[in-house]
């Protein structure tokens, strides 16, 4: 019973290997660059979903504003890329060459001060992590310190998403408005629009994804992870065991925010633009759907959930646009009502018990299931 020492237990290692096989071998070999780029786009949402596993699944903190952080990360990246794309040579038809096109259309004649530092890639990378973390810290500190939680927190995060969307759309001279920041071309001179670049970016993204999985797993395996679960169940008990519950919630919220921001930044790189339509309420709730479908307690489940829902959306909405929303709504209700642990729960309850005897040999599997502790169970969910 030394599960604390290992980051991944046996079944999780197998899940990790399966995911690596899928993302690094099967998909790149089986799909053309166009489809692979789609997968890359979907995977950026998986970062958000992993964050939600920690924050919502483990910690019970439901944020309906993860789009805000996705957007913050994405906009930081987009600002850097846009500045690079707006060199004087590229923008000589503008009245003020050298500034982004949408600023020129809005009669700005010089770059606003908060855009200046985004000339630097180093600053941009720091900002991708720091800006959402600081924002999440402020929101989290203000709310959790006063013991705002549960439903109230969800509604307030939703309102924040609404506020930010209106602001971005309204301040179009500084943000590109509803069109967002478009036509991003190069990263330090490297054209990110070519097929080859897309291919490389896909692997970069998968690398980030695995780093995120490891980081998330580390948090979950630590005592902090158990405290999050404990907090979800009996917040007062944790508080009266000497923990500052607020600090732990702030941490969970911040780390979910940072994951989301990394996803957003990668999204900008993959897709080539960023717009306020990822910041608002609807995308934020959709990201919660991915997590719920995959299994709110399972890091791997969240990734598969994201991929499956998005694939279904793309293919289903083409063939049956009328039925798609019915399907999505029904799926969501079914997950909440009947399978609160999502796909991961189904897998654990129905598939794995049948799979294990094949993989481990019957006696080993029986022993495993008999002696299985609930901590393992919860972790493998």
């Amino acid at each position: 019973m030394n599960e604390n020492a290992r980051l991944f237990d046996r079944s999780e290692l197998m899940a990790l290997a399966a995911l690596a096989l899928l993302l690094l071998v099967i998909l790149p070999l089986g799909l053309d660059v166009f489809r692979l780029n789609l997968v890359a786009k979907y995977l950026t949402y998986a970062f958000v979903a992993i964050g939600l596993v920690l924050c919502w699944g483990c910690g019970g903190i439901l944020s309906l504003g993860q789009g805000v952080f996705f957007g913050l990360g994405g906009y930081c990246m987009a600002m850097f890329l846009k500045l690079e794309a707006s060199s004087v040579a590229n923008t000589k038809i503008q009245s003020t060459p050298g500034i982004p096109d949408f600023m020129d259309w809005n009669q700005l004649t010089q770059l606003p001060f908060f855009w200046q530092p985004f000339h630097s890639l180093t600053f941009t990378i720091v900002a991708i992590f720091a800006v959402p973390a600081i924002f999440a810290f402020i929101v989290g500190a203000a709310l959790f310190k006063r013991q705002v939680g549960g439903v109230y927190f969800a509604i307030i995060t939703q309102a924040i998403a609404a506020i930010l969307t209106i602001l971005i759309v309204g301040q179009q001279g500084y943000t590109g408005g509803i069109n967002g920041i478009t036509d991003l071309r190069t990263l330090k001179g490297w054209d990110i629009r070519t097929d080859q670049a897309k291919f490389i970016l896909y692997f970069v993204e998968v690398a980030f994804l695995f780093a995120t999985v490891v980081a998330a797993q580390f948090v979950r395996r630590s005592k902090l992870g158990r405290i999050l679960v404990a907090m979800r169940e009996k917040e007062d008990r944790v508080r009266f065991s000497g923990y500052s519950v607020a600090n732990f919630k702030i941490f969970a919220f911040c780390i979910a925010a940072v994951f989301a921001a990394v996803g957003g930044a990668l999204f900008t790189l993959e897709v080539g633009f960023m717009s306020p339509s990822f910041v608002g309420i609807v995308p934020s709730i959709e990201m919660v759907i991915y997590t719920a479908v995959g299994g709110r307690l399972s890091i791997f489940g969240a990734i598969y959930g994201t991929l499956i829902v998005n694939f279904a959306k793309t293919s289903f909405s083409e063939s049956f646009p009328q039925l798609w929303l019915f399907g999505l709504g029904a799926l969501f209700i079914a997950v909440v009502l009947a399978f609160p642990n999502g796909l991961a729960g189904l897998w654990r309850d129905y598939v794995q018990p049948r799979l294990d005897p094949l993989l481990l040999g019957r006696s080993a599997a029986a022993a495993k299931w008999a002696g299985r502790s609930v901590a393992d169970g919860a972790a493998a969910e």
Partner: protein
């Protein structure tokens, strides 16, 4: 070069029964022998298609890319319908360079990245020879880099804010100056308007349009803007601004409100006792489509300035309206954008025939100067900057939801997407 693309479904509409399949195969040669009006034989594919587009000896594939789901579905439905009508009519006349147009329709789902994704699919996977599509500026901005990178051709139907020009886009709607300046000149001259109140939904098109309007009002007409306001998309409470309007008593309310907000705005305007038969209101955003939701009785008396109204009295339009209603139902209405969308396939056909090639580069080069005499709005011509020369008209809303056309510019208005003095 392959003549058959995998995504082709030449048997698509036929039932999978063996007999019908055979019948279909038998019909195919007959198809290509249909009479063609202007040329004796279709030029060989190897000549007209040197870049690997989805063109065979008998067919050419184009894409239709609009939202049929999501919030924008309301607006974009009309465009899809018009484009399908145009394609059907072109096919009935014998197609383009002797090839039938086959279309692949994709749903942008009111989501800009989806538009980019689908645009890429249409260009890369389906090798579409042209794409009719997009509606909002944001969706166009999202797909533009895709069209430029993969060298596709987009026919974009919506009136928009300008500030853009691309080798890979033909703008069949009006850019902002075309739509705005003529209307302001008219209202200034006819109504003697001295003061204007500018309203808009808070995003790029209304803001840019109002910026142009303000420059024109202040610098050219030497009159005054007494207020300018923006509301979030979907805003439904206009009582405060209506009070401000009452306070400032402008000669003209200049409204660029879009979507569901329109309904709230006009209903509340009427309820507040602002009588549009006395108060001049000029809008560039309410087409017949929008009036459907607003209710004709709520907006009757308002003036709209755009290039097309369904009630336009000319033979082209009469035929167009009749064909449209025959295809899509008696109750459908046709707005400015719907008509502009209808122009897309026709302009493309004319350009292809002028260039005698489907190659994008040749089409882009041949586009300037292409004339379409059969346009419902009347004669149009493509400008060097890929926008259309077109007339601008002012209509007055009737309670039945139609407009009476009360003014049109004498000549075609030149498109000027980067207007000097208005930026």
């Amino acid at each position: 070069m392959s003549d058959r693309n995998d995504s082709y479904k030449p048997w698509g509409p036929l039932a999978p029964s063996r007999r019908k399949l055979l019948a279909g195969m038998a019909a195919l040669p007959a198809l290509s022998m249909l009479p063609r009006p202007s040329f004796a034989a279709a030029p060989p594919t190897s000549v007209v298609n040197t870049t690997g587009l989805a063109v065979t000896d008998s067919e050419v594939t184009v894409g239709i890319l609009h939202s049929v789901t999501g919030t924008m579905a309301i607006s974009e439905t009309g465009s899809v319908e018009a484009e399908k009508l145009a394609i059907e009519q072109i096919n009935a006349e014998g197609g383009v360079l002797g090839r039938k147009i086959k279309f692949i329709q994709e749903d942008g789902a009111s989501d800009w990245p989806t538009f980019a994704e689908k645009a890429k699919k249409l260009l890369v996977n389906d090798k579409c020879a042209a794409v009719m599509g997009c509606w909002t500026s944001a969706s166009r901005k999202a797909v533009l880099p895709v069209f430029e990178q993969y060298n596709g051709m987009l026919y974009y139907p919506t009136f928009y804010e300008g500030l853009e020009q691309s080798k890979n886009v033909i703008y069949t709607g009006q850019e902002a100056t075309q739509q705005i300046i003529a209307g302001l000149d008219w209202v200034s001259k006819e109504k003697g308007a001295k003061t204007f109140y500018l309203l808009g939904s808070d995003y790029i098109w209304p803001r840019t349009s109002n910026k142009i309007a303000r420059k024109h009002i202040e610098n050219h007409l030497k009159t005054k803007v007494v207020g300018e306001e923006y509301f979030p998309l979907g805003h439904t409470q206009f009582n405060s601004v209506i009070n401000k309007i009452k306070l400032t008593k402008p000669d003209v309310i200049y409204a660029i409100i879009v979507g569901g907000s329109n309904v709230a705005f006009y209903k509340q305007l009427k309820a507040a006792g602002i009588d549009l038969s006395k108060q001049t209101l000029l809008t560039i955003s309410v087409t017949e489509d929008e009036i459907d939701g607003i209710g004709g009785e709520n907006i009757a008396g308002a003036y709209a300035c755009m290039k097309y109204f369904q009630s336009l009295d000319n033979p082209n339009n009469k035929a167009f309206v009749a064909a449209f209603k025959k295809m899509w139902g008696e109750k459908t209405v046709i707005g400015d954008v719907t008509q502009a969308a209808y122009l897309g396939p026709w302009l493309w056909k004319l350009t292809v025939e002028k260039a005698n090639s489907f190659d994008i580069d040749k089409i882009a080069a041949a586009s300037p100067g292409v004339e379409f005499k059969g346009a419902p709005e009347g004669y149009v011509r493509i400008h060097e900057n890929h926008h259309l020369w077109s007339k601008t008209r002012v209509g007055r809303a009737r309670p039945d939801g139609q407009y009476d056309v009360i003014y049109e510019t004498k000549d075609l208005v030149e498109p000027d997407p980067f207007p000097k003095g208005y930026q």
